[in-house]
Amino acid sequence: MTAFRKFLIQTSSRTALGFFPLLVGTLVALGVIVLILNHEHVEPRAVYDLIYERTLSLPENRANVVDFWLPILLCCCGLLLTFTAGLWNIGIEGQITMGAVGATSIALFVKLPHNQQILTELFMAGAAGGAWALFTGIMRTRGGVNEIFGGVAMNFLASNFSTYLLVGPWSPPNATGSATVRFPDYSLLPSMDKYRLSPITIYITLTAFIFVLLTLSGSRWGLQLRAMGKNQKSAQMLGVPTERNIWLAMLMCGIMAGLAGGHLVLFRRSNLPANVSGGIGFLSLLVVLLASVRVRWVPIVSFAFALLYSAGLPLRTRLQLDSSLVGIFLGILVFCVLIFDGVRQRLQERIEQRKLLAASGGEKSPPPPTIEIQIGEEVSSGSSSN
């Protein structure tokens, strides 16, 4: 055994190896971005300075990052429920869009006292997003349509429906159909005095996060979702109401995504633009993947993502770099973390096998039955093929 391998085995404590994928993934992603920047003849330092200047240097910029962060975190909270249950809710983009459409339908055409107005708009946002997600769940359980394909179809339907509204019935006079008119002030979410942040969205997001944290860490329903995520068939045989739980998890996720969509139109934009979700649903999926479905990591990871994404536009305007560069960085980061997490798991397996071999006095024994928690897949046990 080489000294390096001995070193690896000795330092294979959970903490050290736990951070290994994130560390290596970040380094690789940064390395690739530096190469791309060199190719584009842009100083990495200039990019760093710009990102810092436009996100963290001033209080209003920090508030802007937080405003960007809240809907992402809200979506992540919903996705934590569906991922835990083993569901790939790719349809979250459509749920955000429908939430925005739901909120807009009230903001444009209904006039109520301010508090009731806001409540009704948020209710419609949550209801529209929830209904969109629930339908995907029902298609999965009753129609046998995989939630990935059901979700993708629902994304396209939501996107086309919102575009139809923008160019048709909700199109402002003499407009190109890229957005509705600005909502009246009484329809908009109130802002804090000092910073442009919505206290209502902060309360909603905080409540959603605490709810998900408590649900997944110490509730019976959370335990049922975990059991379903590990092996849905076994969970069902043990009496877990899997169909009801799929519907509930999808519904909760859809409500949270819908509320995020509501925030986008009722606060950030003050109207319904084309492509309102802007990819934050997929971004949230990446966050949850990067955080390995760990609830406590999600706020930190989503904040980092929000910080980088909110710097995308200045990259284009100031350095003539396409904002997709941020997407490339995050994509490589998540990809590398997945890969190196796989490397870490295999390494740990080998170490455990060696320990077992040493304990049995060198006699070869069959590998221990490992349980792998794989999102969206059933548990694979031991060395079986299926």
Partner: protein, 324 residues
């Protein structure tokens, strides 16, 4: 026949070609037991690469080769992550699809809107003169003809060769295939690489033939459609081909009816119809509703109808295989 309808049908055949190629590629991949969810991003990146390489080198062949290599590389990453690291194929594929889409946007921005080369028009002598059929099927370029041929070749390969039997066993029961002496992992790599290359070719078909040139997100959504068509087609080559033509045809028909003032629906609603119909059909077929309606089919036709409506994914789809 109405010349507008004939040209609409010819357009339909041309527009369906990339979907046909990508979905046949994914069929091969999934028949080998692997899900490559990166199709949407791969097609975008391959389309951009095909255009950029042919634009810079002046060789269409180089562009097509670059696209196929990109498709192959992405697919190999998915299978390698699954085989060596036991990672979830869906997670890796999903991340790759987003990454490839961003890469295509970033590296393709200087080619956006540029005029590039086109696969030359190559009508087939004699066949092109057959009334209607000639114009619809035989007045295209070589990639479009390849798309029809591919369906036949894939069908023959899967159902009428020893290799095809082995391919099916990889997806249905890899352990049994291994016991029978098949090198499961090796062949999975081979088929996934082949499927990926076809997905890359689909990208090239877009930028060099169907939607000439490159624009950010120009093929967005088609990879997801191709994936859905594979399910819609029940993992069978001809049904998948029918699915591709059905989806493209529906849209072409709606546009034709709109042009003829028969139907006056907004384009967004027309764009929704393939998805609605796909969902309805999937629910009808996969929920067992279709099978329960078989009682009204005369017993003589029942086995054929059953076979037609059967949608059964490969038994080991998406699972890792380890030698025992």
């Amino acid at each position: 026949m109405d010349p507008v309808l004939t040209s609409t049908l010819a357009d339909m055949v041309r527009n369906a070609a990339p979907l046909l190629i990508a979905s046949q590629g994914e069929l091969i991949t999934e028949r080998a037991g692997v899900v490559n969810l990166s199709l949407d991003g791969t097609i975008l990146l391959a389309a951009m690469a095909a255009f950029a390489v042919s634009y810079n080198t002046g060789h269409l062949g180089m562009g097509i080769l670059a696209a196929m290599l990109i498709g192959m590389l992405v697919a190999l990453i998915v299978i390698a992550a699954s085989v060596f690291l036991k990672l979830n194929q869906i997670a890796v594929g999903f991340v790759l699809t987003l990454l490839c889409a961003d890469l295509s946007t970033f590296f393709g921005r200087k080619y956006s809107g540029q005029q590039g080369q086109e696969i030359p028009y190559a009508p087939i002598p004699i066949l092109k003169d057959i009334p209607v059929i000639g114009e619809v099927f035989f007045q295209h370029n070589i990639l479009i003809y390849f798309s029809f041929l591919l369906v036949i070749v894939v069908w023959l390969w899967i159902y009428h060769t020893r290799f095809g039997l082995s391919l099916r066993s990889l997806g249905e029961h890899p352990a049994a295939a291994y016991v029978r002496g098949t090198r499961v992992q090796l062949w999975r790599f081979v088929y996934v690489a082949l499927g990926g290359a076809l997905v890359g070719l689909a990208g090239a078909t877009y930028s060099l033939s169907v939607k000439l040139g490159w624009r950010e997100g120009s093929t967005l959504g088609n990879g997801w459609i191709a994936l859905a068509i594979v399910i819609f087609g029940g993992w069978r080559p001809f049904r998948i081909a029918f699915g591709a033509y059905f989806i493209v045809g529906l849209r072409a028909l709606a546009l034709y009816l709109q042009k003829e003032d028969v139907l006056n629906l907004p384009i967004q609603i027309i764009n929704m119809t393939p998805w609605v119909l796909m969902l309805v059909t999937l629910i009808f077929v996969t929920s067992g509703l279709a099978e329960s309606l078989l009682v009204i089919v005369p017993p003589r036709w029942r086995p054929a109808a059953q076979q037609l409506l059967r949608v059964k994914p490969p038994g080991a789809l998406g699972s890792n295989f380890e030698r025992g």
